[in-house]
């Protein structure tokens, strides 16, 4: 009866229904195997967990795991600090490198098809099991590159932290390239969806390519950039060979107990979210400035 009176409400209700219906299956799986376990670890983090014949015994210890991790566990704190520094260096570099590569790959060159395939290739390595073999054997670092640039000669002229950052980036360069696969793909899709008429209009107005890049391409790509930043932070953070993850795995397998592992996992998670929020804030701010 409502149908004839207020078709609009009816429409949105069907929208709501189909919304839930389409999500439902995914939601069930997600709740059961991702969300609920995460909540469970939160509970565990306040308890000492012992396993006895397949059952778990919890004994409440309050915040002591957190206190211990934040005040006594020097290795863990050091790991967190390293992680934060690494992320702050990685994210901008990966974003910029993948944007540049995406633009190169998007230009009409002979053989771009081949290059596109090659640049997307590392996706299957970084998420695969063979990555650890590479890192063990030193394939991921490029031995010559550090000798290429004489860092010590720069020591007097640039600040020390900048020098450290440079040194780090050159030694990790291959890793950075390997982690850019999906970001390049996402940027390429973004670039291809640009309105070509806009460039023509800009050209008629006498804009140079440089100006077109800053005034047209970059603002239009902003959502894509934010997406890539989030994706990079996430991929780096849950990468299974990430030192903190290895450490937490160590805690889990006896060395500290499952409760303690849960607490450290949550601390790590919170640090990660803080960094992610920071990254998004930086890039969102840029968006606002451009729009004005």
């Amino acid at each position: 009866m409502k149908k004839s009176k207020k078709p609009k409400i009816q429409y949105s209700r069907s929208e709501v229904l189909s919304g839930y219906a389409f999500c439902a299956l995914w939601l069930v799986g997600f709740m059961a195997f991702t969300l609920y376990p995460i909540i469970q670890t939160f509970i565990f983090s306040f308890n000492d967990v012992t396993v006895q014949e397949g059952a778990f015994n919890l004994s409440n210890v309050g915040f002591s795991h957190y206190v211990q991790a934040l005040s006594q566990d020097a290795d863990f704190l050091q790991g967190l600090e390293d992680y934060a520094i690494k992320l702050i260096l990685y994210v901008p570099v990966i974003t910029v490198v993948s944007l540049i590569l995406a633009m190169l790959l998007n230009s009409k060159l002979k053989g771009t098809g081949f290059f596109r395939t090659v640049f997307f290739l590392p996706v299957i390595i970084t998420s695969g099991p063979v990555m650890s073999i590479f890192i063990d054997q030193g394939v991921a670092s490029f031995p010559g590159i550090e000798k290429l640039i004489n860092f010590d000669s720069l020591a007097g002229t640039v600040p020390a932290f900048l020098l450290e950052a440079l040194r780090f980036l050159t030694s990790e360069f291959i890793m950075i390239l390997w982690f850019s696969g999906i970001q390049i793909l996402v940027f390429m899709t973004g670039l291809q969806k640009m309105d070509k008429n806009m460039y023509e209009a800009a050209q008629i107005d006498g804009a140079s390519k440089w100006e077109m890049f800053w005034k047209l391409t970059l603002p239009a790509l902003n959502p894509t950039i934010v997406l890539n930043v989030v994706f990079t932070v996430v991929m780096q953070s849950v990468f299974s060979l990430n030192p903190i993850i290895t450490r937490i795995t160590g805690y889990m397998n006896g060395d500290g107990g499952y409760g303690y592992a849960s607490a450290t996992a949550w601390i790590y998670f919170i640090v990660m979210i803080a960094l992610l929020g920071l990254a998004v804030l930086v890039f969102k701010k840029h968006e606002r400035r451009v729009r004005r």
């Binding site: 839930y20 991702t34 376990p37 060159l109 290059f115 590479f134 460039y199 890049f213 996430v234 903190i244």
Partner: protein, 290 residues
């Protein structure tokens, strides 16, 4: 540089002015391919080359010894290797199909429908994406036990079909599909399923292929289920079977076997990737979204 495509003044064939692009792209491309070559060469290295430090990149005396040792071990196992392989194929195929379907339907409604809790759901998904994956393995185990899935084949599939990363990527891609397109489909009398299959899926194919690759990898390389939830050997997967070798035999042989099995585990990834990537690249070129 991006403006190049707009003006259509690019030469169709190689021109000397393009050389600068190649000069930049080629070295990068080499670094990208190196690891793949390395996987192949390592698998055929004899023992003395495997232990050389620093490791050499190319193999000097290629040998099948690693594979001989691997197949000998396989022949000696109680459950035939083909059984593990069969399990893995079933698990992988089902996981890829189901996870893509769930991710695209959830991605579609999370992006294009207005309903209560939509944004909250997506935010939770994004946050869950970031949680330390290893830390949830024990609560997951409890759930598997409570659902009575221990030693059931489905325990291989169920925990990994709801892929937060898939929903995340697909939602972002569906966001870029203009609403008028969906409204036009609705005007023409398309139902929700028709929209999903005829409008959304064709347009997000690059993202689908990416999600397919990621979900293939997580399913194919997954050892969590076999190690934790399954006791019955005949239900376990090939990835698990392979990992048992690297821990069970003597150390000199182990290195070779690990290298050989790494190649075996890696090859399907490469094949899937090569099949999928043409889809990724093709549809990106003419995705019809302006």
């Amino acid at each position: 540089m991006a403006s190049f495509q707009g003006k259509k003044i690019n030469p169709k064939h190689f021109h000397i002015s393009q050389l600068k692009f190649y000069i930049i792209l080629l070295p990068f491309a080499v670094f990208m391919v190196l690891p793949i070559i390395y996987i192949f060469t390592t698998a055929f290295k004899p023992a003395d080359e495997l232990f050389k430090f620093p490791p050499s990149f190319f193999v000097k005396n290629p040998t099948w010894d690693n594979y001989k040792a691997l197949f000998e071990l396989m022949a000696g196992s109680s459950v035939p290797a083909s059984r593990y392989l069969f399990n893995s194929v079933i698990v992988t195929v089902l996981t890829v199909i189901i996870s893509i379907f769930l991710a695209v339907s959830a991605g579609y409604v999370l992006s294009k429908k207005n309903f209560k809790g939509r944004n909250v759901l997506f935010e939770i998904n994004t946050l869950a994406l970031m949680f330390v994956p290893i830390a949830v393995s024990i609560p997951r185990f409890i759930i598997i036990v409570n659902l009575g899935l221990v030693d059931r084949f489905i325990a291989n599939i169920l925990p990994i079909i709801a892929m937060p990363i898939g929903v995340f990527l697909l939602k972002q891609f569906v966001d870029q599909i203009p609403d008028p397109l969906i409204e036009a489909a609705k005007m023409d009398g398309a139902g929700e399923w028709t929209i999903l299959f005829k409008v959304i899926i064709p347009m997000v194919r690059p993202a689908l292929a990416t999600v397919a690759i990621l979900s293939f990898q997580s399913a194919w390389g997954n050892v969590e289920a076999s190690t934790l939830y399954l006791n019955n050997e005949s239900l376990k997967t090939f990835a698990y079977y392979i990992t048992t070798f690297s821990s069970s035999s003597s150390s000199t042989v182990t290195q070779g076997i690990t290298a050989a099995s790494a190649l075996i585990m890696f090859l399907p990834n490469l094949i899937i990737f090569i099949c999928m990537q043409s889809k990724v690249m093709d549809t990106m070129a003419h995705s019809g979204i302006k």
